[in-house]
Amino acid sequence: MTREQTPIVRFRGVTKTYNNFTAVQSLDLDIARGEFLTLLGPSGSGKTTTLMLLTGFETASSGTIEIDGKRIESLPAHKREIGVVFQNYALFPHMSAAENIAYPLRVRGMGRAEVEAEVARVLATVDLADKGHRRPGQLSGGQQQRVALARAMVFKPRLIVLDEPLGALDKNLREQMQEELRALHRQIGITMVFVTHDQSEALTLSDRIAVFNKGRIEQLDTPEGLYRDPCTTFVAGFIGENNLVPGRIEAVGSVSASIRLDNGRLVEADAPNRPLIGERAFLALRPERIAFAEVGDASAIPAKVKQCTYLGDCYRLDVEAEGIGLLKLKLSGTIPTPPVPGNMVQVKFSDRECRILADR
């Protein structure tokens, strides 16, 4: 195995407990060299703690963490060579943007002329060449964000970690910064570990996403893999939208299973987390995979429209399906006759579009 293929960071059996609370539980995680990995999860799911363990601001209760094959648990934070972009940027308010960026070089004892050259180079990279003399308080949110990025990468760290850095920005700026972050990642090719609770941000930015829940990684996959093939009910509900229709497992195959829905219909679909026969489980069904049925379609389910919202490119519907319950639908915005709340409609979905997930 060549060096390029060994993971840059390796967590093995890492647990972090505070008093009685387990923040991270026996975590195994490999971060590939040069990838953009996102740690995604709701607050309190352990993603930020994982980051703190990596940067050295927290110490693991047990387990090992390696960077480039060397264990780092006892290495203090300032010797780990990891660039961090903080949630509120944590720029030093008493220094100008250029001084902020020069800080990591100065503490490493780099010569004055060299520092100035490096700072100028990095300022140009983040498109702030003429703003170096300004204090953070005189910069806009997006500019502060870029200074923080510049500061985190100027000393050529082994990887950069970003702790919800876009949370404070408004929507347009956030999308622009996402673009810039991706471009920068492609440009400098450094490993980036990004923490967020925003699933759409994770889908936009990442090579891979680790979905955290209750101190564990529920699933680690590419954005497409997570969306298409969620392996747990949590991931199915957290990444994009999903209808979770309850039912009882009747048969189990090697990769698939059959579930009897409450309206009597038997559905056979992929079952990635191995449900047991007789167990209560869920059929995960994307809203955009449900369609209106033609009159006379045998597999159609009658449903009553509860609510209909027009969103330009699509309609979002809540319908009460007979024997199944509430379903969310997403229909193309170009359908000729918009549904009216109170009307009866026929809905259908195909077994291939579903996944059977046990609730664990």
């Binding site: 961090v84 949630q87 030093f92 503490v107």
Partner: protein
């Protein structure tokens, strides 16, 4: 009603609400302060008691002895003063120039004959009572003391009156600043770790620590200074412990010297240094030091380049507060200091209460005020007023 007049009305209401405070401040702060500054140069005591002498001396050429009329005026004034029991006050005022005039004036007043009608030559009478009346010096002193303004107190305070111990108050002022600066430095050094501890703990422990910090503030300064008397004296608790532990063989001199003053002053003033520092440290986000560490800054770089510059406003505010309070401390040096540790406020109090030389007391207080204001302005110039936050 237009918007303008509505705004005006609300302005007037606002001003009316703060008016009591403004009036209160004017009467309790500005008026006494101005009165004090006037007092330091005003000189009306002698003119009130010896009006005839003042008028008689107005036409004196100052080179030869004054004429008979002036001698008669002095005698008449002193006789009247003896009747009114104000001769002592006049004698004290004349004594500011030189202590011997005080004796001359009071003994003259005492020795004047009861029946003045038989006396024709007042010059001979006065010179026979006190030969000093035969020389021009006392007349010069009298002429200078006629008022209504004098520079004698200001000159004494500045050590420029030419007397034998003229440097006294300059030395005291220097000593006052040395003690205040020492106490400030010790307070800040002790306050840094204390404030850091306070700002980094949370929960019930934080409350307890805060209470131990504030508790001394709620206790009288007199009580606290007296407790140090008990602890620090020759056979006090501290010396007994030190000797029992065989750290020293003989009791240490911890009291009636600079050590005692600084220990007690530091203790009294420490909370004023800790609280602004605590506020500054508490408001510094934890991520600032984390950022420094993640960027490769070791503990020392982080402290000096990131932490200290950002808590400097608190440090400045605390230092300034301690320094200005220390300048005015009176009871602590009085109880725990020796002769050479008394600060300017002691001498202000002495001149106000014992020597009854209010003019000198006012001059000293004015001097302290002016030097303090100059230092404050210098400090603002160096640190910037916007950085002095509490």
């Amino acid at each position: 009603m237009t918007i303008d007049s509505a705004a005006m009305r609300s302005n007037i209401v606002g001003l009316a609400l703060i008016a009591p405070l403004v009036i209160f401040l004017a009467f309790t702060f500005l008026v006494p302060l101005g009165r004090m500054l006037v007092l330091s140069v005003s000189d009306t005591e002698l003119a009130a008691i010896m009006p005839r002498s003042v008028i008689a001396l107005a036409s004196w050429d100052g080179e030869t002895l004054p004429d008979e009329e002036a001698f008669a005026a002095v005698a008449a004034d002193l006789a009247a003063a003896r009747e009114d029991r104000t001769a002592g006050t006049a004698a004290r005022r004349l004594g500011y120039a030189s202590a011997e005039w005080r004796t001359v004036l009071s003994s003259t007043a005492r020795s004047l004959p009861d029946d003045a009608s038989s006396i024709t030559n007042w010059q001979d009478t006065l010179v026979s009572i006190e030969p000093a009346w035969g020389q021009a010096k006392i007349w010069h002193a009298l002429a200078e003391a006629r008022g209504p303004f004098t520079d004698i107190h200001v000159l004494t305070a500045l050590g420029m009156d030419g007397g034998p111990d003229s440097g006294l108050y300059v030395n005291v002022l220097v000593r006052t600043f040395v003690i205040a600066i020492s106490a400030t430095a010790i307070c800040l050094l002790l306050a840094m770790p204390a404030a850091y501890l306070l700002s980094s703990v949370s929960g019930p422990l934080a409350g307890l620590l805060m209470l131990t910090l504030l508790l001394p503030l709620w206790t009288s300064v007199l009580v606290r200074s007296t407790s140090w008397l008990v602890i620090l004296q020759k056979n006090g608790i501290l010396n007994q412990i030190l000797m029992a532990l065989r750290i020293t063989n003989a009791p240490l001199d911890l009291i009636y010297n600079r050590t005692g003053v600084l220990i007690a002053l530091t203790h009294v003033l420490l909370p004023y240094a800790v609280l602004p520092l605590y506020a500054a440290m508490k408001s510094l986000p934890k991520s600032q030091m984390q950022a420094s560490r993640s960027l490769g800054g070791g503990p020392l770089s982080g402290f000096f380049r990131v932490y200290l510059p950002q808590v400097l406003p608190g440090l400045s505010a605390g230092g300034l507060m301690v320094f200005i309070l220390a300048l005015g401390y009176y009871i602590t040096p009085l109880l725990l200091g020796g002769q050479g540790d008394q600060m300017l406020p002691f001498y202000i109090a002495y001149n106000t209460l014992q020597a009854l030389n209010w003019g000198l007391a006012a001059s000293l207080a004015g001097g302290l005020l002016i030097v303090t204001v100059i230092l404050y302005l210098l400090y603002v110039r160096l640190v910037g007023v916007e950085r002095v936050r509490v």
